[in-house]
């Protein structure tokens, strides 16, 4: 259905337009002048100035795997993050922890854990879905590489970014 938008009825002086145009030009010139003289400062010049110190707590940067205080990779390769990941950036190949291992009762660990950072959209669903509190979004945002292969974060890289996480649920500790 067509909607008729009522237009304002202009007086003949307003219909002349020139004063309004002049006013517009004055506004833009004011902005021009202020920026030129450095009075307006909006743009942050990125490589020299960074937000790093002021990133908010909820900032979602690169996803990473964390280890617990005992040095165990918390991930048990349940592949829920792989399932939930909207752009399908995560690829996990699960493996079995050999019987003699200290953490043999955990049974399963990620043999390979790749996150394709070209695909990753930093949505944080992996963090939210993880039942083991093993994957977290860290504050790294400058993810660079010269090839597509460079942009895939393997397990080692993910653990490096993730580091050790203290104070999370210790489900697999010795007593249990």
């Amino acid at each position: 259905m067509a909607i008729t938008v009522p237009r304002p009825r202009l007086t003949w002086r307003e219909r002349w337009y020139l004063p309004t145009i002049a006013a517009g030009l004055a506004i833009t010139f004011k902005h021009f002048k202020n920026t030129l003289l450095g009075r307006t400062k909006v743009t942050m010049e990125y490589p020299e100035q960074k937000w790093d110190a002021h990133l908010p707590d909820y900032y979602r940067g690169a996803p990473a795997l964390v280890s617990d205080a005992g040095g165990r990779v918390r991930c048990v390769a349940c592949q829920l993050c792989e399932f939930i990941c909207p752009p399908r950036a995560i690829k996990i190949i699960p493996g079995e922890i050999p019987p003699g291992d200290r953490f043999a009762k955990v049974e399963k660990f990620p043999q390979e854990f790749d996150i394709d950072m070209i695909r990753c959209i930093y949505c944080g669903m992996c963090e939210e879905v993880c039942p083991e509190q093993a994957i977290f979004l860290r504050k790294d945002y400058a993810i660079t590489g010269f090839t597509r292969a460079d942009m895939v974060h393997h397990k080692e890289k993910l653990l490096e970014i993730g580091g050790v996480m203290h104070g999370v649920v210790l489900k697999w500790n010795e007593k249990k």
Binding site: C78, L80, E82
Partner: protein, 602 residues
């Protein structure tokens, strides 16, 4: 069933509504038939009901009888029910006249919640690790009938983990909820009583009897029926989460039984095969041998691209070149100089195209390689070719399958046969040596895996395995069933029927077959048993197309002829008994399954 005596019918009230059920129906089944689901762990419709999981507790009652032993009627004209004061299990109770059942009363709900809480007391919370997660009854019912909080503060009981109860089954006792399905399966279906419970109370564990191992050919069915992640397939364990698997309905092609299966794949990799219920074929089961016989599809020696012989060497070629070369080879020989060896593993469509190929070339020398093995009384058939009946119907040979093989081999040796077409078989199984094959002017091979014979071929045509193609097969009992494509063929391999179609068209110049449905339509026109059918009409469960008297098993003479042919062949060669080894231990014989695949012997 008008001829059978009338089954006694009972009136049963389920959740306030009266229904009629035949005698012998278990109450849990009666509920299911009218759309009332009662949760259960130990009950399995193919097994007996011990009633040990207590999940299916319901309230039950009987009509109040008056002094005249007649049910007293209420104001609505229906009998008044006397409810029993305590709940009953409904899996072990058969329907009886006038009984009433309540499945959603507060008492029932309270019972279910209680049973769930008891089951979860010692059950580990390792769903992220457990392979059953996603198809776990305990998980599902915990959501549906359990509570969200645990009141259990003590330490859980420790039990053995990762126990190898058999060569193909790994047991995690902590996850076991003691439903005893596996024990009953072994006793009642596999007739191999190896599993049992030991110890008491919370410390009860499932274990194999001393000195015994769950190593029968049906052991992996226990994994299927296990409602939790206690029994896991060693082959599938920790390989892939079930929610990633694309499930394709297909059939097993490892013997003539043709068990209905579901093939679980992800991104063109097969992760598991599980049985699909079909009461006319395999009930709910399948054998381990057939279930694990898929690894050869991902073997290293898969043929990946067509090759043609040029200057004495096999060089890669594109499909039109390879097909053209094959057609050229065949056209330059007289009909009497060509022999075709087809396979009982080919689908009806492929066999029909083979028959067309033979008739357009005028070839009379055509046969399949018979393949016999030890059968059992449960599912595994002696005939290890999945489509022997299809061969009979479509190639229309009067003699028994394999009867002409010796003659073909002799003719190759004597030089009478100059062109040999081997479809999905290893030419070595004709009893011909590599040198004899190398002497052939034209050897055209269509196969899945590389072997000594493919290396001597003039043209090699890489084909598809059973999980990579569509088609139909007729099982040993004359049931027409359907294969479905679960994965794409690797490399440049192509659908068998397309290869045969192109070869046929390269020889006779036709161009009327565009889809596999077209081929089936043509079969329908020529083979009376297929009349009125189409690939889609076959359905997931298949249709019977052969009468019992048409089945080969009723022809002892046939059987003898096959036995003789095989005996003679066996005498000519000394062979390793790969298939028997495979039968005894399928999980280990995967790498050389290629040989086993193509080795005909008993």
């Amino acid at each position: 069933m008008p001829n059978e005596p009338a089954v006694q019918m009972f009136n049963v009230q389920i959740d306030g509504v009266w229904h009629r059920f035949p005698k012998g129906t278990r109450v849990i089944e009666a509920c299911e038939q009218v759309g009332v689901f009662v949760p259960r762990y130990c009950y399995h419709k193919m097994l007996s009901s011990p009633g040990n999981c207590r999940m299916c507790l319901i309230e039950m009652g009987f009509p109040r009888l008056g002094p005249d032993r007649k049910p007293e009627l209420g104001t609505d004209g229906k009998p008044i029910i006397n409810w029993m004061p305590r709940p009953q299990i409904c899996c072990a109770q058969d329907v009886a006249e006038g009984i009433a059942v309540r499945t959603d009363s507060p008492l029932v709900k309270e019972c279910q919640r209680g049973v769930m809480e008891f089951l979860l007391i010692n059950h580990p919370l390792d769903c992220p690790i457990c392979d059953q997660a996603g198809e776990c009854r305990l998980q599902e019912f915990s959501v549906d009938y359990g509570t969200s909080q645990s009141r259990f503060l003590e330490n859980k009981v420790k039990k053995p983990k990762a126990v190898q109860v058999g060569p193909r089954v790994t047991l995690d006792d902590e996850r076991c909820i003691l439903c005893s399905r596996c024990i009953r399966f072994c006793q009642e279906i596999a007739h191999d009583d190896v599993l049992g419970f030991v110890d008491r109370g919370s410390h009860t564990v499932l274990t194999a009897h001393p000195g015994k191992s769950l190593d029968n050919n049906y052991s992996l069915n226990t994994v299927d029926i296990c409602p939790v992640g206690a029994l896991t397939s060693t082959d599938f364990r920790f390989k892939m989460r079930v929610w990633f698997l694309k499930e394709t309905k297909s059939i097993c092609t490892s013997c003539a039984t043709g068990c209905n299966t579901v093939i679980g794949t992800r991104e063109d990799v097969i992760y598991r095969q599980t049985p699909r219920e079909n009461d006319d074929v395999n009930s709910c089961w399948m054998c381990d041998y057939g279930r694990l016989n898929y690894k050869y599809l991902e073997a290293e020696d898969r043929l990946l691209e067509p090759r043609i012989r040029s200057d004495g060497k096999l060089v890669p070629a594109d499909w039109p070149t390879a097909i053209g070369q094959a057609a050229l080879h065949l056209k330059q020989f007289a009909a009497s100089e060509i022999a075709i060896v087809a396979s009982g593993r080919m689908t009806n469509e492929e066999l029909w195209l083979t028959a067309q190929l033979a008739s357009s070339l005028g070839v009379k020398c055509i046969d399949i390689v018979p393949r016999r093995g030890r059968g059992d009384k449960i599912l595994l058939s002696k005939d290890r070719n999945p489509n022997t009946n299809g061969v009979r119907l479509i190639l229309g040979s009067r003699s028994a399958p394999g009867a002409k093989l010796m003659a073909i081999a002799d003719a190759v040796r004597s030089g009478e046969i100059k062109a040999l077409v081997i479809l999905k078989e290893n030419a070595m199984h004709l009893g011909l040596s590599v040198e004899e094959l190398a002497r052939l002017p034209a050897l055209i091979v269509m196969n899945i895996l590389r072997n000594a014979a493919t290396e001597k071929a003039s043209v090699v045509l890489p084909a598809c395995g059973f999980a990579e193609k569509r088609g139909s097969m007729v099982n040993g009992k004359g049931r027409l069933q359907r294969l479905n494509r679960a994965t794409r063929p690797p490399g440049n391999a192509r659908d068998d029927w397309e290869i045969l179609r192109d070869l046929l068209q390269g020889i006779d110049g036709g161009d009327s077959l565009h889809s596999i449905e077209d081929v089936f339509r043509r079969i329908r026109e020529t083979v009376p048993q297929f009349a009125g059918l189409s690939l889609s009409k076959i359905g997931d469960l298949g249709v019977h197309i052969l009468k019992i008297e048409e089945l080969p098993a009723t022809h002892p003479s046939d059987e003898e002829a096959i036995e003789q042919a095989i005996a003679v062949q066996a005498a000519r060669r000394s062979v390793r008994s790969d298939l028997d080894r495979a039968y005894a231990n399928p999980a280990e014989s995967i790498t050389r399954q290629a040989e086993a695949q193509t080795a005909p012997r008993r």
